[in-house]
C-alpha cells in the first residue's frame, strides 16, 4: 500500500479550507493563554474571522479544481458540497459578527466560544461532503458536541443550562438512530460508502427485500438528521433550546444545522432511491407533519425568539417538500432554500439581538408601536417577516417558489396544496409581528433597539440580499443549479 498512499498532498489540497478553519481554532486557543479572562477580546474574534476569511478565499481559489473528491470513497466532490461549504463559512462569519456586541452580556467573551464555533464549522464542512457514512458520523458528533457546549455556553444562566441539556440528551438519542441506520446500510450493502449504492441498486431486482432494508436504513438516517434540522416529530427540543441558548448561538444552531443537515440529505438523495414508494411516503408525511405542527405551534407564541424557533422548524418542512418531490432539481432547490433561510434567519436574529440589548426577553409587547418610531428598524423587520412568509418581492418568495417548482416537477400536487395552506397559516403569525410593530399602541415596556456596529452590518447585508434576490432572482437561482 505504500506506493498508493491514501493521503497525498494533492488530495489534501481540497481540504485546505477546513484545515484553515481548524488551525484558526487552535490559534485562537493559543493566543488566549496570556490574555486576561472575562474581558472583551477583540483579537480572538478578529483572528477567527480572519481564519474564516482565509478559508473562504481558499475555497474560491480551488472552486473548480475541488469538484473531484478529495479522498475517493471518503469525501464527495461536486457543486452541491462546494456550495454548502461556502454557505457554512459565511454562516460562521455572520455568527461571529453577531457575537461581538452582546459578548459581555451573554458571557461569550471566552476564546473557547470562538474555538468551538470554528470546530463546528469545520466539522460541518466535512459533513456535507462525506461519502463514507462513518466519516459522516464522526464529524456529525464533532459538530454536535461543539453545539451542545455552545448552547449552554453562558453557564451562569439557568435557561442556557436547560437548553444545552435538552439539546444534548435528545441529540445523543438521535446520534444512535443515525448509527443504527449506518449499521443497516452496512448489513445490506457490505459497505459504508454512499457511492457503492447506485452500482448495487442496478443489480437488485425491483422486489428484492434488500430494497426495503435500504429504506429502513434511510428512515433511520433521516430520523438522525431530522433531529438536527428539527423535523417533526423530532423537533420538540427546538423551542426550548432555541429560546434558552445565547441568541447568536441560536442563530448558528438554526442556520448552520439546517444547512449541514439538508445538504447531507440532498447528497443522500443523489444515491438513495428517493423515488421508492416507501421513501416518498416517508418524506411526504415528515414534511406535512413538520410544517403543520410547527406553524400551528407558532400561532400561539408570545415570545419572538420562541416564535422564530417554531418558524425555523416550519422552514425545515418547506425544504423537505422539495426533497419529497424527488425531482432532479430537488437538491438544488433544497440548498437554495436553506441558503435563503440562513439569510432571513440572520436578519431576524440580528434584529432580535438589537431588541434584546436591554437584557430582557422580547415579546410582542416590547415591539408594539416601534415601527413608526424607528422607521428603518421597522422596515428591516417588515422585510424579514414578509420574506419568511414567502411574500414577493423577497428572496423568501423566490426560494419557496423554487421548492414548489421542484416538487411539482416530481408530481406531488397534494403535498404542494398542503404546503400552500401552511404558508397561509404561517403568514398569520408573521403578520402578527407586523401588527404589533405598526398597528398596536406603544407600551411602557417598549424596547429601544440599538442599531449599530457589526450587528447592524449583518442586518443590512441580509436585508439587502433578501431584497436584491427578490427583485433579481437570476443570480440566486444560478447558485443552486447543479
Amino acid at each position: 500500500m505504500l506506493n498508493n498512499p491514501i493521503v497525498t498532498l494533492a488530495s489534501l489540497q481540497n481540504l485546505w479550507p477546513e484545515i484553515t478553519v481548524l488551525l484558526g481554532a487552535f490559534f485562537v486557543l493559543a493566543v488566549d493563554i496570556p490574555l486576561r479572562a472575562d474581558k472583551e477580546k477583540g483579537v480572538v474574534a478578529w483572528s477567527s474571522m480572519l481564519a474564516l476569511g482565509l478559508a473562504l478565499a481558499l475555497l474560491l481559489r480551488d472552486w473548480n479544481s475541488a469538484l473531484s473528491p478529495a479522498f475517493p470513497g471518503m469525501l464527495l466532490g461536486g457543486r452541491l458540497a462546494q456550495a454548502a461549504r461556502l454557505v457554512l463559512l459565511v454562516i460562521g462569519a455572520l455568527t461571529i459578527a453577531l457575537s461581538r456586541r452582546p459578548a459581555t452580556r451573554l458571557g461569550l467573551v471566552h476564546a473557547e466560544y470562538y474555538a468551538l464555533l470554528l470546530f463546528a464549522i469545520a466539522a460541518m464542512m466535512v459533513f456535507v461532503a462525506s461519502a463514507n457514512l462513518i466519516v459522516a458520523f464522526v464529524v456529525l458528533e464533532t459538530f454536535s458536541l461543539a453545539m451542545y457546549v455552545l448552547a449552554g455556553f453562558n453557564r451562569r444562566d439557568r435557561a442556557n443550562r436547560e437548553a444545552a441539556l435538552k439539546y444534548f440528551l435528545i441529540g445523543a438519542f438521535a446520534a444512535a438512530f443515525f448509527l443504527f441506520g449506518i449499521a443497516i446500510f452496512y448489513g445490506v450493502t457490505g459497505s459504508v460508502s454512499l457511492e457503492t449504492l447506485p452500482e448495487l441498486l442496478k443489480n437488485l431486482a425491483s422486489d428484492d427485500p434488500r430494497r426495503r432494508m435500504l429504506m429502513a436504513a434511510l428512515g433511520m438516517l433521516l430520523v438522525g438528521l431530522g433531529f438536527k434540522v428539527g423535523l417533526a416529530p423530532f423537533h420538540l427540543w427546538a423551542p426550548d433550546t432555541y429560546e434558552g441558548a445565547p441568541t447568536p448561538v441560536t442563530a448558528f444552531l438554526s442556520a448552520g444545522a439546517k444547512v449541514a443537515g439538508f445538504a447531507m440529505m440532498a447528497q443522500m438523495s443523489l444515491y438513495f432511491p428517493f423515488s421508492h414508494p416507501a421513501a416518498v411516503t416517508m418524506l411526504g408525511w415528515l414534511a406535512v407533519a413538520t410544517m403543520t405542527l410547527a406553524n400551528l405551534g407558532a400561532l400561539r407564541q408570545q415570545g419572538i425568539k420562541r416564535l422564530l424557533a417554531y418558524s425555523s422548524v416550519a422552514h425545515s418542512g418547506y425544504a423537505l417538500v422539495a426533497l419529497a418531490g424527488g425531482a432532479p432539481s430537488a437538491p438544488g432547490a433544497v440548498l437554495n432554500y436553506v441558503l435563503v433561510y440562513a439569510v432571513m434567519n440572520f436578519a431576524a436574529f440580528s434584529l432580535l439581538l438589537m431588541l434584546e440589548e436591554s437584557g430582557s426577553p422580547v415579546t410582542f409587547k416590547e415591539i408594539q408601536g416601534l415601527g413608526f418610531q424607528r422607521p428603518f428598524f421597522g422596515f428591516c423587520l417588515a422585510v424579514t417577516m414578509f420574506a419568511m412568509a414567502g411574500i414577493p418581492p423577497t428572496a423568501g418568495f423566490v426560494a419557496k417558489l423554487n421548492v414548489f417548482k421542484s416538487a411539482l416537477e416530481g408530481g406531488r400536487s397534494t403535498l404542494l396544496v398542503l404546503a400552500v395552506l401552511n404558508s397561509v397559516i404561517s403568514a398569520a403569525y408573521y403578520l402578527r409581528v407586523l401588527v404589533a410593530l405598526y398597528m398596536a399602541p406603544r407600551t411602557e415596556t417598549q424596547a429601544s433597539p440599538a442599531f449599530g456596529g457589526l450587528t447592524g452590518a449583518v442586518l443590512l447585508a441580509c436585508v439587502g440580499l433578501i431584497l436584491a434576490w427578490g427583485l433579481f432572482p437570476a443570480p440566486l437561482l444560478s447558485l443552486s443549479a447543479f
Binding site: 411574500i391 417558489l401 400552500v420 397561509v424 402578527r432 432572482p473
Partner: protein, 496 residues
C-alpha cells in the same frame, strides 16, 4: 416605455415623499396630490394615443428577466385594460383628497402607501407575463394591509388579517397552477414560459383545464368577491379609512374580475364553458344575497360594502355569459362600480368625519343640513340603481342582454334581482337624506367644503359622461373583447 413610466412613477414619487420632511403634513399632502395629478395627466396622454379600434396589445414592452424560467418583464395595454388604468389614475387623487382632513397621523407613510398601491394595481392591469402579474397581485396586498391595519377603525387588525389571509390563500393556489402551466409549456414548446400568449396557445386536456381553472378561479373569486368567499369584504370595508374603502371598492375588487377576463376564461376556454352554469349560479346568489344583506344592515358603511358584493356579482354574470354584450357589460360594470361605489364611500366618509357614527338609525333628513350634498347624492344613488342617463344603466342593460342570450330564464331571474338593487338604494337614500332630522347627531352636520364638492362633483360628472357616452369605453373595448371571445369560439366546443 410609457407603460413602465405610468406604472412605476407613483412608487418613485412615493419614495420621494418618504424622503420629505414631516412638517405639519400639508407639504406631504400637496406633493402626493401633485404626483397623482401628474400621473393622471400621463394616463390621459396614453388614452389619447391609444388606438381604440384595435384588438391587439399596444405600447408593448418586453424585456428578459429570468430567462431560465422563461419569465419576462412584459407589459401591454388593450381595449380591456385601458379604461381600468384610467380608473386607477382617477381614483388615486380622489383618495388623497378625501383623506385631507381625515388622516392626521403618520401622513407621510399614508401617502406613500397610497402611491405604492397605485403602482401595484397598474402592474396587475398591465402585466402580460403570469409571473409578473402574480408579483404585482401580491404586492397590492402589502399597502392595503397597512392602510386598513394602521389607519382603520376599532377592529382593524382582525379585518386586515382576514383580508390578507383570504387573498393569500386563493392566490397561492393560483401560483401553483401558474407553475403547472409553465411546466406544460415546457413539455409542449421545450421552454418554460409564463407568457400569457403562450399559455393561451397550449393544448390542455379537459382534466388539466378543470383543475387549473379552479385554482385560478378561486384566487379571483376571493378578490371579486363572489359568494361564499366574500366574508372578508364587509369587515375590510367597515374598518378601512375612507381612502382605503374607495380604492378597495374602486380598483382592488376589479383585479379579481379583470383576472377572470384576462386569465381564467381565455386560458381555459373549455373549463370556462364547463363551469359556466355553477359560476352563473354563484354570481346570481351574490347579486341577491348582497342585496338582501344591504337591506338588513344597521351600519351605513356595511350597507355600501354589501352593494359591492351585489354589483360585482353582476360583473361576474356578464363575464361568464361568454358573449360580447355580457363581457362588455362586465367591463363597463367594473368601471362604473368603481365610480359609483367609490362615490358612495366618499359620502359615508363625509358623514363620518362630521358626526363620527355610522349607525343608520341615527341618520335621517341630512338634506336639510346639507343641500349641496343632497344635490350630489341623488345622481350617485341613481347610478348605483342603474337609472337611464347614468352610467349604471348601460352596463346593467348590456349584462342582462348577455345573460338572456346565455339562458332566458337566468336572464329573467337576474333582471328581477336587479330590482332589489333599486329597492335598497331607494331605502338608503330615503332614510339618510330625507324626512325630518332623525337625531341630535344630525344637527352637527355641516354642508360640503369646496374640496369635497370637487371630489364628489368629479365623480358625478363621470357618472353622467359615461351614462350619456358609454361608447367611449364600449368602442375601444369591443375589438379586444371580441378577439378574446373568438379565441374561445375557436378552441372551445361549438355552441357558444
Amino acid at each position: 416605455m410609457i407603460l413602465s413610466f405610468l406604472a412605476w412613477s407613483p412608487l418613485i414619487f412615493g419614495l420621494g415623499i418618504l424622503a420629505m420632511p414631516r412638517g405639519d403634513g400639508k407639504g406631504l399632502r400637496w406633493a402626493s396630490l401633485a404626483a397623482s395629478f401628474l400621473n393622471l395627466a400621463l394616463a390621459a396622454f396614453l388614452l389619447t394615443r391609444f388606438e381604440g379600434g384595435k384588438a391587439g396589445m399596444q405600447f408593448e414592452e418586453i424585456r428578459a428577466w429570468l430567462p431560465s424560467w422563461g419569465i419576462k418583464y412584459h407589459l401591454g395595454v388593450d381595449g380591456i385594460s385601458i379604461y381600468l388604468l384610467v380608473l386607477n389614475a382617477v381614483l388615486t387623487p380622489i383618495a388623497i383628497l378625501c383623506s385631507w382632513n381625515a388622516v392626521t397621523e403618520k401622513v407621510k407613510e399614508f401617502h406613500f402607501l397610497i402611491l405604492m398601491l397605485q403602482t401595484a394595481v397598474y402592474g396587475v392591469f398591465l402585466s402580460l407575463d403570469g409571473f409578473l402579474f402574480y408579483l404585482f397581485w401580491e404586492a397590492s396586498l402589502i399597502p392595503m394591509y397597512f392602510l386598513v391595519g394602521v389607519w382603520g377603525g376599532e377592529r382593524r387588525v382582525y379585518a386586515t388579517l382576514k383580508f390578507v389571509l383570504y387573498t393569500l390563500g386563493g392566490s397561492l393556489l393560483m401560483l401553483l397552477a401558474m407553475l403547472k402551466l409553465a411546466f406544460i409549456a415546457k413539455e409542449q414548446t421545450q421552454a418554460f414560459s409564463f407568457s400569457l400568449s403562450t399559455w393561451k396557445s397550449l393544448s390542455l386536456s379537459a382534466d388539466a383545464q378543470s383543475w387549473l381553472f379552479v385554482a385560478f378561479f378561486l384566487a379571483f373569486a376571493v378578490k371579486v368577491p363572489l359568494f361564499p368567499l366574500h366574508t372578508w369584504l364587509p369587515d375590510a370595508h367597515v374598518e378601512a379609512p375612507t381612502a382605503g374603502s374607495v380604492l378597495l371598492a374602486g380598483v382592488l375588487l376589479k383585479l379579481g374580475s379583470y383576472g377572470l377576463m384576462r386569465f381564467a376564461v381565455p386560458i381555459f376556454p373549455d373549463a370556462a364553458v364547463l363551469f359556466q352554469r355553477p359560476v352563473m349560479v354563484l354570481a346570481l346568489i351574490s347579486v341577491i344575497y348582497g342585496a338582501a344583506m344591504v337591506m338588513v344592515q344597521s351600519d351605513l358603511k356595511k350597507m355600501v360594502a354589501y352593494t359591492s358584493v351585489s354589483h360585482m356579482g353582476i360583473c361576474v354574470l356578464g363575464i361568464f355569459s361568454l358573449n360580447l354584450p355580457g363581457q362588455q357589460g362586465a367591463l363597463l360594470t367594473m368601471i362604473n362600480h368603481g365610480i359609483s361605489t367609490g362615490a358612495l364611500f366618499l359620502i359615508v366618509g363625509i358623514f363620518y368625519e362630521r358626526i363620527h357614527t355610522r349607525d343608520l338609525s341615527l341618520y335621517g333628513g341630512a338634506v336639510l343640513k346639507m343641500p349641496v350634498l343632497g344635490l350630489l347624492f341623488l345622481p350617485v344613488a341613481l347610478s348605483s340603481m342603474g337609472v337611464p342617463g347614468t352610467n349604471g344603466f348601460v352596463n346593467e342593460l348590456l349584462v342582462l342582454r348577455g345573460v338572456f342570450r346565455f339562458n332566458p330564464w337566468t336572464g329573467a331571474f337576474a333582471a328581477t334581482a336587479l330590482v332589489l338593487g333599486a329597492a335598497y338604494m331607494l331605502r338608503l337614500t330615503q332614510k339618510v337624506m330625507y324626512g325630518p332630522l332623525a337625531s341630535h347627531k344630525m344637527e352637527e352636520l355641516t354642508d360640503l367644503r369646496p374640496r369635497e364638492i370637487v371630489t364628489l362633483g368629479a365623480m358625478v360628472i363621470l357618472i353622467f359622461v359615461l351614462g350619456v357616452f358609454p361608447g367611449l369605453v364600449l368602442n375601444s373595448s369591443e375589438a379586444a373583447v371580441n378577439a378574446g371571445l373568438l379565441d374561445l369560439l375557436r378552441s372551445g366546443p361549438s355552441g357558444i
